[in-house]
Symmetry: C2
Subunit: 343 residues, 2 copies
């Protein structure tokens, strides 16, 4: 059996509660007593029993990270993998553990959020979703557990109550497009994904940049893929004429952009001379491809950090705080695929 506060108490010749207080930095303890208790606890390698602690404090010191179920997609997984690492790295600063979970248990079908919260296994949640589920949102709100949406743009009306951290994709879309415009391009093919959500924002940014520079927006110049490399590749094969008719393309996710580039190269096009390419996300993967992809950088570390910090704020707040919308600005990373270095 592991050591308990009682054991330490015995060794130190004090009561169990004195041990508890000493180890919890209670101000009610004399310096001398505390010192002695701490030393003994240290010597014995004592650690609190998390369950007992959790039972009496209602705090577990672990937080749940909820991932979308399509995490199995390779491209998504790539991104989420490094996001998780980032979260871990930050949360360990507060000595918080991290339970990773999918949105629902594939076997029992039970919603992970509800399960984790009701069983009191976590103190708070970081939810990494692109889609929101009204019923779990309602559950979260009435269960008064702190939670932060990471990477999620909630477009219903009731945004005020919730906390979220996300990239300003409108600006991202604007930045990528404007960069190409400034390089002299007028016909810019947009390769996007998903009808709604983040990608719609990116497209709105694209459109706004065009309009701002007095370029007519042509709906025929917007293509849709499913975010994968393969999909980007196939789009080029299927719409070769369209790609022929433009001088630049702005692809709304890097892996897809790489697929586009490879297909373009395979069909004999030179990048950026024949066609300029700009991507979105700035994933490490792009380092493997030539020419190096110019892209809109999503500040992942910042997103993760801000989400964690916000969650920690919520955790330590006496009463529930108001919702906070934290918008992070993307930046443009100019490399070679846009041709800027030739200009």
């Amino acid at each position: 059996m592991a050591l308990t506060t009682k054991d330490i108490a015995l060794l130190a010749g004090v009561s169990q509660s004195t041990v508890s207080r000493s180890l919890n930095n209670s101000p009610l303890i004399s310096v001398e007593t505390r010192r002695r208790v701490l030393q003994i606890a240290e010597e014995q390698g004592f650690e609190f029993n998390a369950n007992a602690r959790g039972l009496s404090t209602n705090r577990t010191n672990t937080i749940g990270v909820i991932y979308p179920d399509d995490y199995l997609d390779h491209d998504v997984s790539l991104y989420l993998g490094s996001l998780l690492t980032q979260l871990r790295k930050i949360l360990e600063q507060w000595d918080l553990d991290l339970i990773v979970s999918f949105k629902e248990n594939r076997k029992t079908g039970i919603d992970s959020i509800k399960r984790l919260v009701m069983r009191k296994k976590v103190d708070g949640l970081i939810i990494v979703h692109s889609q929101s589920d009204t019923s779990t949102l309602e559950f979260l709100e009435k269960s008064d557990i702190p939670f932060v949406f990471l990477h999620f743009y909630h477009n219903s009306g009731k945004v005020e109550g919730i906390n979220q951290v996300y990239t300003d994709h409108f600006t991202g879309g604007y930045l990528g497009t404007e960069h190409l415009i400034k390089l002299g391009h007028r016909r810019i093919l947009c390769v996007s994904a998903d009808a709604e959500g983040e990608y719609a924002q990116r497209r709105r940014g694209y459109q706004a940049a065009l309009e701002h520079h007095k370029i007519a927006w042509d709906p025929a110049l917007v293509l849709f893929g499913d975010r994968t490399f393969q999909s980007g590749y196939n789009l080029v094969l299927a719409h070769g004429d369209l790609f022929d008719s433009v001088t630049a393309t702005f692809v709304h996710t890097d892996t897809m952009a790489l697929g586009v580039m490879e297909a373009l190269k395979a069909t004999g096009k030179r990048i950026p001379q024949d066609i300029a390419v700009v991507g979105y996300d700035d994933v490490e993967l792009t380092a493997y491809f030539q020419p190096r992809l110019t892209t809109v950088h999503q500040p992942r570390e910042e997103l993760a950090t801000l989400a964690c910090e916000r969650l920690v704020q919520l955790l330590s707040a006496k009463r529930s705080l108001r919702g906070k919308q934290i918008k992070v600005q993307p930046t443009l990373v100019v490399r070679q695929s846009c041709g800027a270095h030739l200009a």
Copy 2:
């Protein structure tokens, strides 16, 4: 406050322990009572308080996954990311949660394994390490917590006591090499990594295959990289003459192999006509490169599954089981980079 068994007891008009027993499928309960209790619990959306349960049973229903600290490396992260997904997918079948942790807390320097075990936050561990640390191994052994090493070849003498699941890298090295030999290659450049551990096994397999086919083993034909794409790329640039002097190369990790291929292509070589390439791991990433990489497949799903299953066995065993060494066989995936399709 959340519902407790006491609340359910009140609603059902029975005692708290009857509720506990009913919900835990105790055989001591009449069908009728159980039915009623279950129904009420269901209606109320009752869930056990994990802390209270853990306190009295000494079981948390969560297991810890320990990742190496170099998880931040992109290439490693790629692999570990999908491994984690796999683990999650399997463990959720037993309703086990999963705490992910690095080997040690970067801030406090505290060993995560010790912390998680002593605080009783986990019932068991899956340790994904390439290096072993004698002190934590000792700790694990005397703390009698179930643990399984995943992907780790412990080469000290005391293997009997521990449980581990790993790929037979000797065979992997052998397979890749023999495939090239059978295609007629005699001078096969080996691009490996790390002096010790897994990679040494792969090299031993390489060497054994050569010897088996009466080909003199030439130590000058073994190069070392650091497993990254970049490193593979640079190796080609630095040792162009060596690559010129062989007809095939066996690269011991896929990302590095891709780097090698890209550099080879950049220097005007045709793959597989001028030089055949075989990789190792079979990561999804290879799908993005031409020609498609022939490689030694590491059965990741199988590794994850076996590790979880073994851990579950250990968890449910009455007394501690003997250590078990589970070796998984890799397979060769023939695609294009080896030239087999041209033969």
